[in-house]
Amino acid sequence: MSKVANHSPGRRIYSTRFATIVVWIITVAWTVPTFGLFVSSFRSKTDIYNTGWWHVFTHPSFTFANYREVLFGGGALSLGNGVLPYLVNSIVITIPSVIIPIAVATLAAYSLAWIKFKGSDFLFFFIFALQIVPLQMSLIPLLQLFTGGAHIGHITLIPAFGIAGHFAGIWLPHTMFALPLAIYLLHNFISSLPRDLMEAAHMDGANHFKVFRQIVLPLSIPAIAAFAIFQFLWVWNDLLIALTFASGTEEIAPINAKLASLVGQYGSGWQFLTAGAFVSIAIPLAVFFSLQRFFVRGLLAGSVK
């Protein structure tokens, strides 16, 4: 240890050879489960059930049959039309569930940061606090609102939305539940924009709408991108909201809900589960690896400040 420290104290304070080995062992341990499932998704049913996936190193043999059957269905097991429609549903659910909360939250964050009124600080604290309210608190009332509307006694305040069982009935909860974190993150960013910039614009006669459109929005793109990735992963990977608000049908249920029910149905239909799992995690993994920098920035802005 002392030898390492003497060499160059700044560069190698913890990173001894021992540390490097430990890190790599943990990394391998962390990656093996995913790798095993990935390899298995390309093995035939007989192979999967007769030999462990590690046999591919000695007896390589691969097939795309699992993917074909999982995506398009029509095979021996009744997968119906396959998971492709559910994959479409996931995309359909995700796009508005990312864009709409970001728009709403950016507006709110600007207002809380730059159009101060009595109580705007209190409101910000309140929204911040809402961040960790479990969404279980909202599920039952929200579902009732969507199916039955809101009433006091016999007076109907809000008629039945009629959006239960439609995509709108999933977009809306996702939007609502995303707002506290989105507003908090974007407020952190927007409130740190230079004051001079805003004041100069107002001097030139720009009102808040113009300032927002021409100054705040363009400058906030990095923060918006960071949150967008966050929200994308959250919506795509969600199960609770999907189970509660989407009825599990091919019309609107996302792939995650379908996968969860496949696990229940074919507890060990590994030829489907392996390929199905990879179909569902391919898109978030691609997003994750290509935009990791933004994602990390968003995480850091959210928790260490």
Binding site: S2, I13, S15, A19, T20, V23, T31, P33, L37, G52, W54, P85, V92, P96, I99, I100, A103, V104, A105, L107, A108, S111, I115, F117, L123, F125, F128, A129, L130, I132, V133, P134, Q136, M137, I140, L145, F167, L172, T175, M176, L179, P180, I183, H208, K210, F212, R213, L233, W236, N237, L239, L243, N256, L259, V263, I281, P284, F289, V296, S303
Partner: protein
């Protein structure tokens, strides 16, 4: 293929309408509200900017919270008041005791393990060569859903009956060392810990990334000066690094506690809450959507809420402190 397109194209039509309809309405409001000037312009701007968020938060979180509180004092269909009966059920039913015990186990074990391993990795990786590769790989499960992660680990824990070859990694390893593979997910209380491993596997990357950033923010001259004074390895960690990142460590720990409390997907996908692995969030779901008992489900939601309240107050205090420093 033809029916696939005709079945699914309208869905994208809905996306288009939702997104562009929303943006068009917002632009129209912007345009009209932007015409206002003089004294009214500031309140109008506030209403336009803040209105949608307040409305959505009110309808989506605030009003429902009060409704859930009310439901928790009502019967299964929310038609009759039943006083504290649902809460009495939580505290007296032996099945729920197990649920509460498991949840407690989750919040005691999982956050410490995830944050601990995360910190350990962050420290060991600090200034390591090629640190970004192991970092990405350990962080990767963050992008995988709990459902996907559950399938990955179900395969690791897979058990084949006696005469079949063991294709699950865990069974194979146990067999390699001369042990007897079992149907792991049925073994109490081991199964709860096997589920915890999944959560740890997903969340450790989060702890690691955030703590790693905090460690990098420790001023280099402090670290180098203490290293010259003879503090390296464990001593450096104990007296310099850890104290510098302690506040971040606690924030991460608190985040993991909240995550472990709300945990639902893993239990739902792996065991459905059976075999003694049930937790509050899953039981709440089961009460509402399987047993159709809104009263009990709401009371469980409130119990969950009570558990996160201390973290909520802690976060609020931090935010206030941080703001007063500015």
């Amino acid at each position: 293929m033809g029916t696939f397109i005709s079945d699914n194209a309208p869905k994208f039509g809905q996306v288009f309408i939702a997104v562009f309809g929303f943006l068009a309405i917002m632009s129209a409001i912007f345009f009209i509200a932007g015409k206002a000037n003089g004294k009214k312009s500031k309140p109008i701007a506030n209403i336009v900017f803040l209105g949608p968020a307040v409305l959505l938060l009110g309808a989506g979180l605030i009003v429902p919270t009060f409704q859930t509180i009310m439901f928790s004092f009502k019967n299964d269909t929310s038609q009759k008041w039943v006083g504290l009966a649902n809460y009495k059920w939580i505290f007296t039913d032996p099945d729920i005791h197990l649920v509460l015990f498991n949840t407690l186990l989750w919040i005691l074990v999982v956050p410490v393990v995830t944050t601990g391993i995360g910190l350990g990795l962050a420290v060991l990786m600090d200034r390591m060569k090629n640190e970004s590769i192991p970092k990405s790989l350990i962080f990767m499960p963050m992008a995988i859903s709990f459902v996907g992660a559950s399938i990955i680990w179900r395969f690791v824990y897979n058990y084949s009956t006696r005469n079949q070859p063991q294709v699950g990694l865990l069974s194979a390893i146990v067999k390699l060392f001369g042990g007897q593979p079992q149907n792991w997910l049925l073994v109490k209380p081991l199964n709860t810990f096997l589920l915890m491993i999944i959560f740890v596997w997903v969340q450790t990357g989060f702890s690691m990334v955030i703590l790693s950033a905090a460690i990098k923010a420790v001023p280099a001259d402090i670290v180098e000066a203490s290293a010259l004074d003879g503090a390296y390895g464990w001593r450096l960690f104990r007296f310099i690094t850890f104290p510098s990142v302690r506040s971040t460590f606690i924030v991460v720990l608190a985040t993991q506690v909240v995550g472990a409390l709300k945990l639902f997907d893993i239990v739902r996908t792996m065991t459905g809450g059976n075999f003694g692995t049930n937790v509050i969030a899953n039981e709440m779901y089961a009460q509402v959507f399987v047993q159709f008992n809104q009263g009990k489900g709401s009371a469980l939601a409130i119990a969950l809420f009570m558990c996160v309240l201390p973290v909520l107050f802690y976060n609020m205090r931090n935010l206030r402190l941080e703001r007063s420093h500015r």
